[in-house]
Symmetry: C2
Subunit: 346 residues, 2 copies
């Protein structure tokens, strides 16, 4: 996705293109960030780099930091997350090499690059930056509630980790394919690395969370669309506050409700049943109307990753018929997804 994002107040753009760093990773599951960047920001990734014992690859060319710099790279991104979110000592010489080659370092892990003294010293000596995307901007305002110009879509969900980021990215790509001026607005660390900018909503102080959402999708041309990555769920026992602040601050004209077919309980909170799609739509529209009375639900983004094609089509058809709204899996695309996009733009 080409990056044609206007400058955001308080939201610095990340240095790009990227060199993707895979560490010493041998488990593909730990390299989701690198794969996400390859899939959604491939045009802004010049290659990959890794320790000698890494076995995971994105399929991009293997380049040393110096080669990557010559190919135009401006930063090396830590594209893997090992359990615990720590930065192993074995990575440090390669991180130092990148700084010495003229690349900034970007991390999205819990452990902050800027907390490692040796990296700080090398970065200082070479005039390079250590950028932790989980660090929110320092000057976020309290939300004003003022209506902004331009159009906005927010992906919301019945739970965490079921496709809100992917849906917003897929919708942004399809909007642009139809010639519409549209930007993906990232609210979590992987999304921020893909978009090159954004605000990590989960790290913002609670009083400024709705203000952060306002900052994330500023005034725009009346025909412009922001496709905003949702977080959590209004029914989540831990994260509903973040979801509500994001909903109020985003002032969406349109929401798309994301759900994983067959998921019945909140991830990590098995005592909590997932709300129904009907209940989720009703709650989102009721609460969202507070800052945008014209809010509407355009349809359902259904994660059917665990189903066969025929089952997936049947599931989408059944939900679409029940709700009277389009239901599509953005990964499968097809006519159903086209109808969902039509409904967003209606």
């Amino acid at each position: 996705m080409p990056n044609a994002v206007p400058a955001l107040r308080s939201v610095a753009a990340l240095p790009q293109p990227y060199l993707l760093f895979l560490g010493d990773t041998t488990e593909a599951g730990y390299a989701k960030t690198a794969f996400g960047l390859r899939d959604w920001a491939g045009g802004r990734c010049v290659g990959e780099y890794a320790c000698a014992d890494a076995t995971v690859t994105t399929g991009l060319p293997f380049l040393s930091p110096a080669q990557a710099r010559l190919a135009g790279a401006r930063a090396m991104v830590i594209g893997v997350a090992n359990p615990g979110g720590r930065i192993p000592a074995a990575w440090l010489p390669l991180l130092v090499e990148a700084l010495q080659a003229g690349l900034d370092l970007i991390g999205g892990m819990h452990a902050r690059l800027s907390a490692i003294e040796s990296l700080r010293n090398v970065a200082l000596a070479h005039g390079r930056r250590l950028i932790d995307v989980r660090e929110p901007p320092a000057d976020l305002p309290v939300a004003s509630g003022r209506k902004r110009s331009g159009r906005r879509l927010l992906t919301v969900g019945t739970d965490c980790a079921l496709g809100k980021k992917y849906t917003a990215l897929a919708l942004a790509r399809e909007f642009r394919a139809r010639g519409i001026d549209a930007d993906f607005r990232a609210s979590g660390q992987t999304g921020i690395l893909i978009a090159g900018q954004g605000i990590p909503m989960d790290a913002v102080v609670a009083d400024f969370a709705a203000g952060a959402a306002e900052t994330l999708s500023p005034d725009a041309d009346p025909a412009h669309w922001d496709l905003i990555e949702g977080q959590g769920s209004l029914s989540h026992p831990a994260y509903a506050g973040v979801s509500l602040a994001l909903l109020h601050g985003s002032q969406p004209d349109v929401v798309v409700v994301c759900h994983e077919y067959g998921r019945e309980r909140v991830l990590g909170h098995p005592d909590y049943l997932l709300p129904s799609l009907e209940e989720t739509i009703d709650l989102v529209l009721r609460l969202g109307a507070r800052t945008n009375p014209a809010i509407r639900c355009a349809g359902i983004s259904l994660n059917t990753g665990k189903l066969e094609e025929a089952e997936a089509l049947r599931a989408m058809g059944e939900i679409a018929a029940r709700l009277g709204l389009p239901a599509a899996d953005p990964i499968r695309g097809g006519d159903a997804f086209a109808r969902l996009v039509d409904s967003c733009l209606a």
Copy 2:
């Protein structure tokens, strides 16, 4: 109110009794914190201290820090907030004097005591603490959603700044007067100074806000009541996320809806009409049922401070009749307040 609060996980108790510091204040309106402490924690305030040119007084004995220390004081509290929340240079010699006399310093202003180098040095030299109550605990968990033992009441509101803290304090006092084991749980800086402990919800990182609320009212004896100070409003364009996190994490059995009679628009957001009491009750019960399906509304706490007594009684009667719930002004007390407390305990 005597402090019989059991130790809270992660929530340190403040050193008490207090000496109240009034700075160089000549406007009573700036000394709300000192007056609140006198009114609600008078038994834990040994006296007041101020610059020579201050004219505001709480009526408590004027004591030097050394005299206060002899009278049992363990900390001097900054009881005034001047516009901008700064600490003027004229206060510094008196703050230093308190540290030298063996008192800790406690502040609730935006400006942090610990950011002032001269105070840090004196505190270090004398083994004293600089305590900023707007600093949340460092080890707050993500909310679990697990049902906790004991009973809980949360004050909620149609807006900010209309009596949620005062209502929770008045209910805690009345519960105790009736022989019920009850604690006020503070979620804002003035409440924290009054209770001697608590968590400043407005300063917690969004992902941990519901977890902070769970920490604030831990498991307790089945007959014990926590009376939890509410924040913001579920309909507030900037703070609804904080309110929802506090509602979900508090898991209240009972809510009391606080409203200022005659207020029609959100404070500081004049484009936003206040929600009706009916709408507020409906929304609170619907959202609160997610973590406590047995939640109920016991009645309305009506701030009638701008009305004459006869008007106030008529307003309370009218609202009580309309909603079929008790409506009372805790400041006026009387039969109406007794009925509200009866309803909370029903």
